[in-house]
């Protein structure tokens, strides 16, 4: 819900995600799919639509699409049809894109959103189909010319279309992260929006609660999840304003301007589009064996939802912590390695709060972490064995993240062992109580909040190394006395 001047509005969003399929060769040609090659070096005469060239379908791309469909709990259509979507554009050499229209390879499925409050919500997937990517047009190399590179032309894409079930920019973000996690878990797409291996168009409309669907606009040209959330928010507010001003929302395609954070209508002529889909006569319907599909189903890796459930069940994590960790394959694996033979919740906290926080500040991914899961595990062990206190552990961790050093060595080198010698701690407690006579008096007259202050003073006096349990015990005894 968004509040307008005249009441609240509901945002209705459907997403069309284009995910580049991971494969060696293109969907219909034997040219390579490597990212970042010299312009037009990964182009076959088929991709460049030379006269007489014909498409032959890549089996692995079909497998990738079916696996993705299965992971979305979707219906796999054993017969699907490739059609031509006809339009002219310089980076679309044949003047048509081979896509699927009436009979896609994957039908209805769903994605479960893990909401921040720990609840979940299912978003319906309308379909998933296979199609070819276009080449790249470079408009910024020359004031009067557009340069065309066909390396990407013909690379396989999965278009994953959701029903208009999303209700906020936040849900859009959760949906895309979840979808990306699934694709990555499967190894069917990198799902990287910044690199363009995943692209997303959003259909956005607004309505008064309970009213019929409003006119939607389609937002294109967004290259990060954050920008898409921003674009959806902007677009919804813009539409609400239009409606509240008594205007009508026009059905149109709008481009997101990331510099301004706004959307604007596309300048090219929309009315010139009539895609004239028809079955590609160079291809016959794709028929899959049920047995082959079943085999793929059996070979699927553990997916984020199953992983989350296992993390809750086996490790006793909260639903939201489990969802968070299961949502990223690398984090999940790191967590599991860290939690091996240790208290799982403690391990989860270390991974989610300390490790990911520190990596985030350094702009690193988990793969680039200077601290290995084994190393973090040993640090946790040092705390649980009582060798160091939790507070010291954070200091040690800060050192580890900088140098990658082993926690044991850091503790040894810096002499950070926890002091559990009651005599030494008692000395420190006595010293603090002698010094802070005023506060001791206040405490004894009822200001029990001061207890924490005394703990802090003792810890400071022992450079944080005092065993906190012993400090508490001694302080309580002496203050009572």
């Amino acid at each position: 819900m968004i509040e307008g001047r005249t009441g609240s509005f509901e945002i209705v969003i459907g997403l069309e995600v284009h995910a580049q399929v991971i494969s060696r060769a293109k969907l219909f040609s034997g040219a390579a799919t490597r990212f970042g090659a010299e312009p037009n070096t990964e182009v076959s005469p088929i991709d460049a639509a030379f006269p007489g060239m014909l498409p032959v379908l890549n089996k692995f791309c079909v497998e990738q699409a079916v696996k993705t469909g299965l992971a979305l709990e979707a219906e796999i259509n054993l017969e699907s049809v490739f059609e031509r979507k006809n339009y002219f554009y310089p980076d679309l050499p044949p003047g048509y894109q081979i896509s699927q229209y009436q009979n896609p390879i994957v039908g209805g499925g769903r994605i479960i959103l893990d909401m921040p409050d720990g609840s979940s919500r299912a978003i319906r997937i309308t379909r998933l189909h296979l199609e070819q990517d276009a080449g790249k047009s470079l408009h910024d190399q020359d004031p009067r010319l557009t340069f065309v590179d066909l390396n990407r032309a013909g690379v396989a894409l999965m278009e994953i279309v959701s029903e208009p079930d999303l209700r906020s920019a936040e849900e859009v973000g959760i949906y895309l992260r979840k979808l990306r996690a699934i694709l990555r878990a499967l190894g069917t797409s990198n799902g990287n929006m910044e690199e363009g291996s995943m692209r997303c168009d959003a259909n956005v409309s607004v309505r008064r609660p309970g009213a019929a669907l409003g006119t939607r606009t389609e937002i294109k040209n967004v290259n990060s999840i954050r920008f898409l959330m921003q674009a959806v928010d902007y677009e919804a507010r813009r539409q609400i304003e239009v409606v509240e001003d008594g205007g009508r929302v026009l059905q149109e395609t709008r481009l997101f301007d990331s510099a301004r954070g706004t959307t604007r209508p596309m300048r090219s002529k929309e009315e010139a589009h009539d895609y004239r889909y028809f079955p590609d006569p160079d291809l016959v319907p794709l028929v899959l064996d049920r047995e082959w599909v079943e085999e793929l189903k059996r070979s699927l890796p553990e997916l984020p939802d199953a992983k989350k459930a296992r993390f809750v069940k086996n490790y006793g994590l909260s639903s939201s912590d489990a969802a968070f960790l299961a949502g990223d394959g690398a984090s999940a694996a790191y967590f599991e390695a860290t939690a091996q033979g240790r208290e799982a919740k403690t391990a989860a906290n270390w991974v989610m709060v300390e490790l990911l926080g520190a990596l985030n500040r350094k702009g690193l991914g988990i793969a680039g972490s200077p601290v290995s899961a084994e190393s973090l595990g040993r640090l946790i062990d040092l705390v649980s064995e009582g060798t160091i206190s939790g507070r010291i552990a954070k200091e040690v961790f800060a050192e580890m993240i900088e140098t990658g050093a082993d926690p044991g060595s850091i503790v040894k080198e810096k002499g950070l062992f926890q002091v559990s010698d009651a005599g030494v701690i008692e000395e420190a407690v006595d010293a603090v109580l002698r010094r802070e006579t005023d506060k001791v008096a206040q405490y004894r007259s009822g200001r029990e909040k001061l207890f924490g202050y005394f703990v802090g003073q003792v810890m400071r006096a022992t450079e944080g190394r005092a065993n906190p349990a012993l400090v508490n015990e001694l302080l309580r005894k002496k203050l009572a006395g």
């Binding site: 498409p55 032959v56 002219f88």
Partner: protein, 494 residues
């Protein structure tokens, strides 16, 4: 050497085997004949140097005692087949200067069999036409003339250059493509044999596409045997063409046993169209008699959808063409007319690059696929196509082959039907059905019209039953005894 060009392909093959002449001598004879036939405008590109090189290689192989099946046989190739390093135009201005970096599967197979390339023959632009008059390079003229009338006649089309080249003895064999009748109708007009094999028999890879679900590469030749020899070399499964049939290819020449006793020949009542000249009907009756005398049994059949095949074709073929020809946009190859914007460049390039008939079909095709018309035109036509195929399937439960005239008329004069597209389209009324259904169909020269022009009869077979088609066609050919020479040759062999 003057008689070398008069040989059939099988005779030339035997002469080469017996070393009566070399491949080089044979090729030189044809290059000379081509030069003499230039007034007929048979070729868009002649490739004499390539031909002599290839012939030389053939002779060397033969000297080593390792000849290939077609070693030294000079053939002409419709300019719709992409040939590596050789100009390929589809007879269109829009492919001006286009030199492919690849070789079509069919031509590659022919070269692998030792055939020699004489040149690329003229055809209707993008194979759209029935007269080889829509070519950007001007019309091909037939080697034939009406008795007592010197007006130039069309060679038929779209593979008119290929058919006329054989008739003019400027090639020993030729290859063409048949989408609505483009091999059989020019074969009929020029008094030569032409077969459109089953859909999927010959690869479409490297053939400039007109209508993908209808395009059939196939051979044209002087005799049924020659056509069988060529088809054996051209046919076969091609993993690069997803619609290629994964079936083994028989030795079609071996099927020519002369034995057709007991074959049932269907005679479809619906092919007796209202305006058909009596002489064509009479020839058809002769054909029935010839086959019956050889032991086959004529059976009346009904193909009720026949008259709807042509209108269905003129929706489906333009629809596919409108999409297949979208790649001619001035960006990567061929003609480009600069414009202020990319769309203007497209529009000017395509307006200048396509001739009137291609433009007509691309526009019709675009229209029938566009929103609101797809169901009424395109899907309707595809349903009728299914009914046409169903007609044949039913008929082939009762008969082995179907005999019909190839075309409703003999060749007409250049310019005669050019202002009425529909009159031109009606040329394909008997041939288009086999294209829609993907069935093998051959045209055999069977007689002359009253004006002295060749007329062909067509035999249609079950899918992939080319052997039966060839066998009966040879019997028909022998019975018809067509040995007439066109005016061009009567004026003196080279």
């Amino acid at each position: 050497m003057s008689s070398l060009t008069a040989l059939t392909l099988a005779e030339a093959r035997a002469g080469l085997e017996r070393k009566e002449f070399s491949a080089r001598e044979l090729t030189e004879a044809f290059l000379a004949a081509m030069a003499k036939a230039r007034p007929l405008n048979l070729f868009i590109t002649e490739t004499p140097e390539r031909a002599l090189q290839m012939a030389q290689a053939c002779d060397e192989r033969r000297r080593r005692g390792a000849p290939l099946p077609l070693d030294g046989i000079p053939i002409a190739v419709k300019d719709l087949f992409c040939t590596k390093g050789i100009l390929t135009t589809a007879a269109s201005r829009i492919l001006e200067g286009f030199t492919p970096s690849y070789e079509s599967t069919v031509t590659e197979k022919l070269w692998q069999s030792g055939a020699v390339l004489l040149g690329k023959t003229n055809c209707d632009e993008f194979a759209m036409g029935s007269s080889t008059t829509t070519s950007h390079f001007g019309p091909t003229l037939s080697a034939w003339r009406r008795a007592g009338d010197n007006r130039p006649l069309v060679a038929g089309g779209s593979s008119g250059g290929s058919a006329a080249a054989i008739a003019a003895h400027a090639a020993l064999g030729a290859i063409g493509t048949d989408t609505g009748g483009s091999i059989r109708q020019p074969a009929s007009f020029c008094g030569v044999v032409g077969i459109k094999p089953s859909y999927g028999r010959c690869s479409r890879w490297g053939v400039v596409a007109f209508a993908s679900s209808l395009d059939h590469p196939g051979p044209l030749a002087k005799t049924v045997r020659d056509a069988a020899i060529l088809l054996s070399a051209m046919a076969g499964h091609d993993p690069k063409d997803s619609t290629s049939a994964p079936l083994p290819v028989a030795d079609f020449e071996a099927a020519l046993t002369g034995e057709i006793k007991g074959l049932k020949i269907g005679i479809p009542a619906e092919y007796r169209v209202p305006d058909m000249p009596a002489e064509i009907d009479a020839l058809w009756q002769s054909g029935i008699a010839w086959l019956s005398e050889a032991g086959a049994e004529a059976v009346e059949i009904s193909l009720p959808m026949t008259r709807y095949a042509l209108p269905a074709y003129y929706i489906i073929a333009p629809a596919e063409a409108s999409s297949n020809l979208a790649r001619y946009d001035g960006v990567r190859f061929g003609l480009r007319v600069e414009g202020g914007s990319v769309d203007e460049m497209y529009e000017l390039t395509r307006a200048a690059g396509f001739g009137a008939e291609v433009r007509r079909r691309v526009l019709i095709g675009t229209y029938v696929l566009s929103a609101g018309y797809y169901e009424a035109y395109y899907l309707k036509a595809q349903r009728v196509r299914a009914l046409v195929a169903r007609d044949f399937a039913k008929a082939f439960e009762k008969v082995d082959l179907i005999l019909t005239p190839t075309a409703p008329s003999p060749a007409f004069a250049v310019g005669e039907k050019s202002d009425d597209p529909i009159a031109m389209y009606l040329n394909d009324v008997f041939t288009v059905t086999a294209d829609l259904a993907g069935l093998p169909a051959i045209s055999v020269p069977a007689g002359l019209s009253a004006e002295g022009l060749p007329l062909g009869l067509q035999l249609i077979g079950r899918a992939f039953a080319e052997e039966t088609v060839f066998r009966a066609a040879e019997v028909l050919e022998a019975a018809a005894g067509f040995h007439h020479a066109p005016a061009f040759l009567a004026s003196g062999e080279p």
